[in-house]
Symmetry: C2
Subunit: 289 residues, 2 copies
């Protein structure tokens, strides 16, 4: 069992120092409460403002920001999930329209010693501004063991697609950590979709949102932690808050024993159905499962 | 726009006459209220009791039951969705373990003239009893135009899998009609998963359950109609009820314009992720989308 903490707060666009201070204070409070991990919202260290980041954030400053965040984790002795812009891995050979390296929205999980265990880049970009400022990534969510829980990352719009959470669950995830930047007015996302992702793949999902006004956006807060039975373990209002919930693999195993969704899904058949669509018949060409 | 009616009631196991009377009375009330369609629960005409049906229901009686149901539709001038056991289509060549034709749980949509427009067979069987009594089917949900709305069918456990509703949405469905037999205690299915299916694929989902005790089962009622924004348009309690909701393609189009989930999903990438899993690397072999 792990006590998980979720920061819901307002970031200051391009005021990295102020945002790191907010994260540091939250990490300190969370660690003192006994939490093993602090989850923070999408792009929180730099503020959620895609075009202003593209124009005003010098990518050369990112390694130092990452180092500061690792320092916050190790100084407070707590795991940390943070989200930042990131160049695509040079080894991937991904280039953007101008021939430079792809510029992704990433999220990293670092352990209480500050070591990066996992980095994920957002696969589903939301809206024109994100698509102008960033490139969509293509790697599936990976899974690592973190304090005894198989842990994976998605970012914001990704979790609205059942396919993305399924990909993490198929790789063994028991806990999905999701930094987000969800505008006010879309409360059905945490209240319906996040709960459904948790229930249909029987894992814990933590979803950390901004609140208040940030640049041209108004965020609704409403951060949640959903358990593998679809119930909310914790739920924030629309103001700044440090949220706590206890998660672990035991409830995951109990839910998967009760109704074995992951075992009883039929991925071979779904692939066949998609292929039937692609060839225009809308029907499978041969049976398999 | 169409007024949709949903029958939530208790069936009498193997008392076909009593169950057809319940459906007939509901069809009459619904038609007088102006409904274009009556949706009834899973296996309602024969009662939900898989093993007792396998042992006690003579398949030779099914054509006459279907004829009676077509008569209920045409006599009352209303479309009808009913669910019955069905032999696999002879043309499919599907045989069960004993070499006989596969025995599916099916659902049919008949129009107000009694003509069958659509027949679907359940792909995800739930629990040991269903798997002992029936064979899982493999055809994707097809879609037909019904009173101006692109309409498709799933059955019970199917809707708990996002992949099944996606297959219908990918084929153009705007309305998913789902006969079900959901035991009491699983209220998160209509309250979380059905709403999520409607929201994530932006279509209307109507989910008609049994209520009360039937054979060895106790059903929780809680039938719902969810709109393409994930909100409940109608919701039953745990007793017998005829539920009404207005559905149409307009709200579907508005939701899909607001957040284009179906256009922004990346099926090519998901297939690649699955293939990466299948070959054990957990990573895509080449990029495509």
């Amino acid at each position: 069992m792990m006590l998980l903490s979720i920061l819901q707060a307002t970031a200051a666009v391009l005021d990295v120092e102020a945002n790191l201070r907010t994260i540091d204070e939250a990490a300190n409070r969370a660690a003192r409460a006994g939490a093993g991990l602090l989850l923070t919202p999408e792009l929180f260290p730099v503020g959620y403002a895609p075009l202003r980041l593209r124009d005003g954030l010098d990518p050369a400053t990112l390694p130092a920001i990452r180092e500061s965040l690792a320092g916050i984790a190790s100084r407070n002795g707590i795991g940390l999930v943070y989200s930042l812009p990131a160049d695509a891995d040079a080894a991937s050979g991904e280039v953007d329209r101008s021939g430079g390296p792809c510029w992704h929205i990433s999220a990293s999980l670092v352990d209480a010693g500050g070591a990066e265990l996992l980095r994920y880049a957002k696969v589903h970009l939301f809206g024109d501004e994100e698509r102008q400022a960033f490139d969509a990534a293509s790697e599936p969510p990976a899974v690592v063991d973190f304090l005894g829980i198989r842990t994976s990352l998605l970012i914001c719009y990704d979790i609205e697609f059942p396919e993305a959470a399924r990909a993490a669950a198929a790789r063994g995830a028991e806990l999905l950590l999701v930094p987000t930047a969800l505008s006010a007015g879309y409360e059905a996302v945490p209240q319906v979709l996040v709960r459904a992702r948790a229930l249909e793949s029987q894992l814990n999902v933590a979803y950390a949102n901004h609140c208040g006004a940030e640049g041209s956006y108004t965020f609704g807060g409403g951060s949640v932690v959903a358990g593998p039975d679809g119930r909310l373990l914790a739920e924030a209002g629309n103001a700044a808050e440090l949220l706590f919930a206890t998660v672990g693999p035991e409830a995951v195993r109990a839910a998967r024993d009760d109704v074995p969704y992951l075992r009883e899904r039929r991925p071979g058949l779904y692939r066949e159905w998609e292929a039937g669509l692609a060839d225009g018949t809308g029907r499978p060409s041969e049976r398999q499962d």
